[in-house]
């Protein structure tokens, strides 16, 4: 395969174009996919509550604890 200027131009005008378009569509779809809203909201809010310890592998929920 000859790596000429023409070869690169052809590649970028064919595959490159559709690759970029495809990725843009895929990312926009992912970012605005309605059913993912809950996950994103949870992620956005996740940093606001406490940050001072790693999660513990226990089934006890926070509200079940005697005190914070």
């Amino acid at each position: 395969m000859d790596m000429t200027h023409e070869w690169y131009v052809a590649l970028s005008k064919s595959f490159g174009l559709f690759w970029l378009l495809g990725l843009s569509v895929a990312i926009t779809a992912y970012a605005f996919w309605p059913s993912l809203g809950g996950r994103f909201d949870k992620a956005a809010n996740s940093i606001l509550d406490d940050e001072d310890g790693p999660a513990q592998p226990t089934s006890t929920k926070a509200e079940d604890k005697a005190c914070r």
Binding site: L23, F32, R39, I47, D52, G53, A55, Q56, K61, R68
Partner: protein
């Protein structure tokens, strides 16, 4: 801090630093007839000191703490202090460099203090020393918190942090003794570059290992930004520094590229250093600390994802706008212009997202200088990305290029955006990290804020005026078609702006010194405080994406 390491970890740390001593000794021996030999001694000293610090504690008692109930914050703490140390050193250098331009006698006739040598100490010092340490430290903090998982081990974070600082020391000392490969922001020679690759790969692996242990199903967007910073900087660094050493006993090397290819690779690296070192990493900081400090979730999480991919896709193409009107093919220049203009969209999406997050928390911005730092950072981010897109357009660039306008643009980004968000994050982080009630002096934070803001504004306006004056004088012709002004005429016209610039920088530097003092006093004087929320979380979302095996 050593007492938190197990004896195995201490032994491993001694092995690594011991190997470093040997490498330093080898460099000093084979490079004895070359400036590289001096670097050998620096490496030997750096690693030797660490070797003895660890060695002294090798047989101390084993740690008793339960590692599953806390995050590993020791490297973060040292990283913050190192960042502030570098800030003071490198911004001080900046004031000196700026003063040399106004009063050239301040060189004091030494070789090491010439402009060409201390200027990279300033640039590398603020970008890598201050910015890099702040990025590493905050990324350690954020990756653990957002994953709700502790780092997988305790040696590799130290290796990353201290190894990176060894690179910074080798870089800065090399400039002063005249070692440089003359690539902007990539001045260090081949052995320093190789070392940084090792450090950076360990950093990347550490980050991925921490994320693999996460207890949150979704990876918070700040981590995406940090990861893009780590990954892309690795690629940029490796490609731009491809070089053949002239010999293994000397510092000199020859780049794998030449001519316009060399220029293009350099500015592909150079502009993406701005993008992935000075933007995406700091956006990671912004997306974590700004919502946290404001007490409100980010305005639109979806927009943050979209702008992430927009920034990543567009930025990588824009480097050629540094080479307008050069031997670079016209279409490559046009490509750079196009992507630079498109880049405005995701950049403003990020800035807007940050400012919209503050909607409803403006009273906090008014009262809290820490949050105000972050707000001003978002504003300057918006301003300097607009300016950048504008300056990338070829006819605008014809006026701005090679003038002080470029310097003004860089500093509106570096001081107004990067340093402001970093200082805001440091003030938010310090009490949390050291478990203190508050910062030592809120008044000092206010002073710092106003010094930093006025310093930035004075600096940027001085450089705008100077740059546009300079650019216009260069292109003024007489009726007979000759240049109207000589080079010295432009220097005389720029002199008052150079004095103003040095003064603005001095204000900014004073602010950084106050910050360092305030952080140290917070650690030493402010009473210890166990936060009410200082307990291991039972995350609502206990659905580990990857089983937390360890």
């Amino acid at each position: 801090m050593m007492s938190n390491l197990t004896s195995t970890e201490r032994a491993r740390a001694m092995l690594i630093t011991g190997a470093g001593v040997l490498i330093g000794l080898t460099m000093a021996a084979v490079g004895r007839n070359d400036p590289m030999g001096a670097h050998g001694w620096i490496v030997l000293l750096f690693c030797g000191v660490l070797f003895f610090i660890v060695g002294q504690k090798l047989y101390d008692a084993e740690p008793v703490e339960d590692r599953s109930v806390s995050y590993y914050d020791d490297p973060t703490k040292i990283g913050i202090l190192l960042a502030l140390f570098w800030a003071v050193v490198a911004m001080g250098m900046g004031v000196w460099v700026a003063s040399q331009l106004a009063w050239p006698d301040l060189r004091f006739d030494a070789a090491w203090s010439s402009f060409g040598r201390i200027r990279p100490v300033h640039t590398s010092g603020v970008i890598f020393g201050f910015g890099g340490n702040a990025l590493i430290a905050t990324s350690f903090h954020i990756m653990q918190r957002t994953s709700r998982a502790r780092m997988p081990d305790q040696v590799s974070p130290w290796f990353v942090l201290l190894g990176f600082n060894l690179f910074c020391v080798v870089a800065a000392s090399g400039y002063l003794i005249g070692i440089t490969q003359s690539k902007e922001y990539a001045e260090p020679e081949w052995y320093a570059d190789l070392w940084l690759v090792i450090v950076w790969v360990v950093y990347f692996v550490l980050y991925i290992r921490t994320l693999a242990r996460r207890n949150e199903p979704h990876i918070y967007v700040a981590n995406w930004y940090y990861l893009s910073f780590i990954l892309v900087v690795a690629i940029l660094h490796v490609v731009n520094n491809l070089a053949i050493p002239a010999s293994f006993s000397g510092a000199k090397s020859y780049s794998a590229f030449s001519g316009v290819q060399d220029a293009m690779v350099q500015w592909w690296y150079g502009h993406n250093a701005v993008a992935f070192f000075l933007t995406t990493g700091f956006l990671g900081m912004l997306y974590y600390f700004l919502p946290k400090r404001a007490g409100r979730p980010i305005y639109s999480y979806r927009l943050s994802i979209l702008s992430f991919w927009g920034i990543v896709f567009f930025y990588i193409w824009v480097g050629s706008h540094h080479l307008h009107y050069t031997a670079l093919p016209q279409w490559v220049q046009t490509l750079g212009v196009t992507f630079s203009v498109m880049l405005l969209v995701p950049s403003w999406a990020s800035a807007g997202n940050a400012l919209m997050t503050l909607n409803g928390a403006w009273h906090k911005v008014r009262d809290d200088a820490t949050l105000r730092f972050m707000m001003v950072a978002a504003v300057f981010y918006g301003l300097s990305t607009f300016e950048g897109s504008f300056m990338a357009i070829r006819p605008v660039n014809a006026l701005s290029h090679y003038t002080d306008w470029t310097v003004g643009h860089v500093h509106s980004g570096a001081m107004g955006w990067v340093a402001m968000i970093t200082f805001g994050s440091i003030y938010a982080l310090t009490p949390v990290l050291w478990r203190r009630e508050t910062m030592y002096s809120w008044k000092a934070v206010e002073w710092h804020f106003w010094l930093a803001l006025s310093g930035t504004v004075i600096y940027v306006f001085a450089m705008w005026n100077s740059g546009i004056t300079q650019g216009l004088m260069w292109r003024t012709y007489t009726e007979s078609g000759t240049l109207r002004f000589s080079f010295v005429d432009t220097l005389i016209a720029m002199h008052p702006y150079y004095i103003a610039r040095a003064f603005g920088g001095l204000l900014f530097f004073t602010g950084a010194c106050i910050c360092f003092w305030n952080v140290v006093m917070t650690i030493r004087r402010v009473p210890h405080h166990t936060p009410a929320i200082d307990y291991p979380t039972t995350s609502e979302a206990m659905e580990p994406a990857v089983p937390a095996a360890e």
